[in-house]
Structure formats: structure tokens, C-alpha cells
């Protein structure tokens, strides 16, 4: 399977995606503007709270082509962060008290400067999170020692596993991904990840393999733990339930499967003011592979940069200017405010 970008698909263009999502569109059902919902809740303009997380997307290159990927990542994507931009991230971090650096992609480990970057962040005494797709660990010999590398730097590993049933995982992430993920999880468990008392955190991400919202995070975690332990002898710490946002390949899936209107309606109907107040963009800054700054990884993929007059690139990082910005919202934001809420850390309400 190719990325939408490689297929020259209309949805590879972020402007077209925003047209589809726009509440004033003339085709299909209309949904109330997200900004109007926020206004009703007294949250417009949406303002930052304390900046606690710097999420850095080190590139769109990936060994997988998942059907729901909002990054449109894949082996055919060549956009990756340079060491120069990584150094600018380190320089920016050094001027702040941001304690958590969340590395994402693509498969972040495929960036040739990934280990150098983790070492640099670790040397600043900050907690590194790596959003590891698991299969990269067993994709090639050069990645087989990633678990030991993660241990050395106390990295928190967060990995997608949409279901404990192989069929539902493979339907979303590709044929054979479930079996390879189990092999990788055994390797992570073997060095202590996900094992009680080790202090090495291994969290799994559940996101629905279809046009429905995630269920109760606590119930899902209990079920995942029971099934993965019993059927595969695998341990992990927390399950983070994340809603799929109507962006890029998941948006393509919704339209192609005839589920777009129904799914958007579910998101709008499930709008939760508590989740809206706790959205992660309020305490996160997102850095793109080219160093541009965004309110979140989804805005990044929709080419919606931070709404500051200047300081829109990591080389010009200005905490005061960023803390005074209004967060950019659009229709996809309904995904983070539905039901129990959704963020890169799971449910928010």
C-alpha cells in the first residue's frame, strides 16, 4: 500500500482536507463549527496552560502503512528532521522547564539521527517518550538493540496495539503486524519494560479499527491485560484509549467506506465540555520535521501553524509569545472532545 502522497490522492492536500471538514461545505451533512461549540462552553479563544510537553515529529518515514494514519506515513515518505533542526530543539528545550519530550513520526527510530537526539535530550535531564510502532524493533537487525538503548536512557515506550485479536490489529496496521508486535513486546518485556517494579514504562495505545469511538479506557485495559497475558505472555503498564481523528488516511477511510457523516455525527453528539477544557494542545507544543511549530500533531498534518506573529520555527522559540497565542481549532478537533476525551496520553475526562 502506498501513502496518499505517493498516490497523488486529493486528500494528500491539507487544503482539500479542510474543505471536506469545513462546516459550510455543500456536499454531505453539515456539522456545527467546533469554534462555536467552544464558545458555548466559554473556552473560545482556546488558550494555553503551562507548557509541559514538547512533541517532536522527527519525520514521516515509516516501515508500516496503517489505514488510519493521520500523518500519511510510510516507506515512500522521505521528509525527516535534520540534525541541525534537532539541535535547535535541544537549544529551545535548554531555555525552558519542559520536562517531557515526546518523539513521534512515522517511525521515529528510522531517522538516522534518532539515537543522537535521544542522547541529547536525555543529557538535558528530560523524560523521553518514544511512540514506537513495535514492528520497527524486529524489522531489521540494526533495530534489534532498541530495547537496550531505551533502557539506557530511561525512555518511556508508547506503542500502538489496536486490539488483542490479531485480525483486528492487522486490519488496521497491515498483514502480520500483530505477530511481529508480539515478538517486539517480548523483547521489551525481556529487558524489563512493562514489568512491575522495573520502573520502565511500556504503555499501549488502543484506537478503534473502524468508524466508532473507543470504549471505557479502564475496562479496555483490564481486558487487554487479561488477554495479552493469557494468550501471549505479554505485560504492559497502561492502556491509552485514543479516538481516531478525521484527518488524512482515516478521513479517506471514512469517506470511502461511507462512514464520514455517521462518524462526524457521533463526534459532535459526544462533545464533552470537560474533555474540551482538558485538550492536550493547551499544554503541548508540537514541532514538525522541518522545525515549524504547531498546536498539535493533527494541526501539523493539516498545515495549520501556531497563530503567533513571529516565533513560528523552533530556531526562534519564544516561550512568552507561544504562551500568549490563541490555539488554532477546526472541525477535526471534535475528535479530542468526544466522550471521555482523547489525547496522546489517552482519555482526558
Amino acid at each position: 500500500m502506498k501513502s496518499l502522497h505517493a498516490q497523488h490522492h486529493a486528500l494528500a492536500d491539507s487544503t482539500y482536507q479542510l474543505d471536506v471538514l469545513n462546516p459550510a461545505q455543500t456536499v454531505g451533512a453539515r456539522f456545527p463549527a467546533f469554534a462555536a461549540k467552544l464558545r458555548e462552553t466559554g473556552l473560545l479563544p482556546l488558550r494555553p496552560t503551562e507548557m509541559k510537553v514538547m512533541q517532536i515529529n522527527v519525520g514521516k518515514m515509516c516501515n508500516q502503512v496503517c489505514k488510519h494514519c493521520h500523518v500519511d506515513a510510510g516507506p515512500d515518505r522521505t521528509e525527516i528532521m535534520t540534525r541541525e533542526t534537532m539541535q535547535q530543539c535541544l537549544d529551545a528545550l535548554a531555555q525552558t522547564d519542559i520536562q517531557v519530550v515526546d518523539l513521534t513520526g512515522g517511525a521515529p527510530e528510522m531517522n538516522p539521527d534518532f539515537r543522537w537526539f535521544v542522547e541529547g535530550i536525555s543529557a538535558l535531564g528530560r523524560q523521553v517518550i518514544v511512540r514506537c510502532n513495535l514492528t520497527i524493533i524486529v524489522a531489521n537487525k540494526k533495530y534489534n538493540d532498541l530495547p537496550e538503548f531505551f533502557v539506557k536512557h530511561g525512555v518511556q515506550v508508547v506503542s500502538s496495539l489496536p486490539h488483542f485479536a490479531a485480525g483486528r490489529t492487522d486490519a488496521q496496521r497491515g498483514e502480520g503486524v500483530f505477530d511481529r508486535s508480539m515478538r517486539a513486546l517480548h523483547m521489551l518485556n525481556a529487558v524489563g519494560y512493562g514489568i512491575e517494579g522495573s520502573g520502565l514504562m511500556l504503555d499501549l495505545v488502543y484506537n478503534p479499527s473502524g468508524a466508532f469511538l473507543p470504549g471505557n479506557q479502564v475496562s479496555l485495559e483490564r481486558e487487554f491485560k487479561q488477554r495479552l497475558t493469557r494468550d501471549h505472555g505479554v505485560s504492559f503498564n497502561n492502556l491509552l484509549a485514543i479516538t481516531n481523528l478525521p484527518v488524512s488516511r482515516f478521513l479517506d477511510y471514512l469517506i470511502e467506506s461511507g462512514n464520514y457523516d455517521g462518524y462526524m455525527d457521533k463526534l459532535v453528539q459526544a462533545y464533552n465540555p470537560v474533555a474540551a477544557a482538558n485538550v492536550m494542545c493547551r499544554s503541548t507544543i508540537s514541532v514538525g520535521w522541518d522545525g515549524l511549530l504547531y498546536d498539535c500533531d493533527f494541526n501539523q498534518m493539516l498545515d495549520l501553524p501556531v497563530a503567533t506573529a513571529s516565533a513560528r520555527h523552533i530556531r526562534d522559540f519564544d516561550l512568552d509569545a507561544l504562551q500568549n497565542r490563541n490555539i488554532v481549532v477546526n472541525q477535526h478537533c471534535y475528535g479530542c472532545t468526544a466522550g471521555a476525551g482523547s489525547s496522546c496520553g489517552g482519555a482526558t475526562a
Binding site: 486490539h163 488502543y206 473507543p214 475496562s219 481486558e223
Partner: protein, 112 residues
């Protein structure tokens, strides 16, 4: 041919409107309904699967629609959902067949 049908998928979303003509009973029913499906001695997923099985046994299209979606949302997979329907089918089939004991009793009573 008309497309008219006794069942319209859009009517599922109007379920709550049954309270309009009898608010007090409607409220009591939906309060009870909500309480039943809360996590308790059974998990929300187990309750969704039971509802899915019963939906098939009572052959309610609205309920099949609603509890297929709900089972998926609660984390059930295809195998669990189909097994639940088989449980319903087994009970329905068994309920038919167990009545054969009445037939056998009556036939024996009437026969030499």
C-alpha cells in the same frame, strides 16, 4: 415499488422520543436502561455482548444495529460477537427442542 419499510434506520435515533407521550414511564424506563448497562458485576463489554445476543433472538433490527456498534466500541472482536449470537441461537433452538419432551409425554399418554 415503494421504498417504504416498517423499519427505518433513522428511527433508532428517535428512541428517546417515546417519552413524549408518556414522560413519567419513559423517564423511568430510560433511567433503568442506563443503570442496567453500567459497569457492575458484569463489564460493559459483557453486557453489550449479552444485548447483542438477545437482539438477535428477539430479531430487533434497531437493537442489532445499536449493539453491533456498541460491542465494537466496548472492545469486542468478531469472534466474540459471533459466539454471543451462537449462544442466543443455542438457547432459542434448545427452547424449541426441550418442548419436545411435552410432545413425547402427550404422545405416550395417548398411545398403546
Amino acid at each position: 415499488m415503494s421504498d417504504a419499510s416498517y423499519y427505518n434506520p433513522a428511527d433508532l435515533a428517535k428512541f428517546g422520543k417515546i417519552s413524549e407521550w408518556q414522560p413519567e414511564m419513559g423517564r423511568k424506563f430510560f433511567d433503568y436502561y442506563g443503570e442496567v448497562f453500567k459497569e457492575g458485576a458484569l463489564s460493559e463489554r459483557e453486557k453489550a455482548l449479552i444485548a447483542l445476543a438477545v437482539a438477535h433472538v428477539v430479531q430487533c433490527p434497531y437493537c442489532i444495529d445499536a449493539y453491533t456498534a456498541d460491542s465494537l466500541q466496548k472492545g469486542a472482536d468478531e469472534a466474540q460477537m459471533m459466539e454471543a449470537v451462537h449462544v442466543g441461537a443455542a438457547i432459542k433452538g434448545g427452547a424449541t427442542l426441550v418442548h419436545a419432551t411435552m410432545m413425547m409425554n402427550k404422545a405416550k399418554e395417548l398411545s398403546m
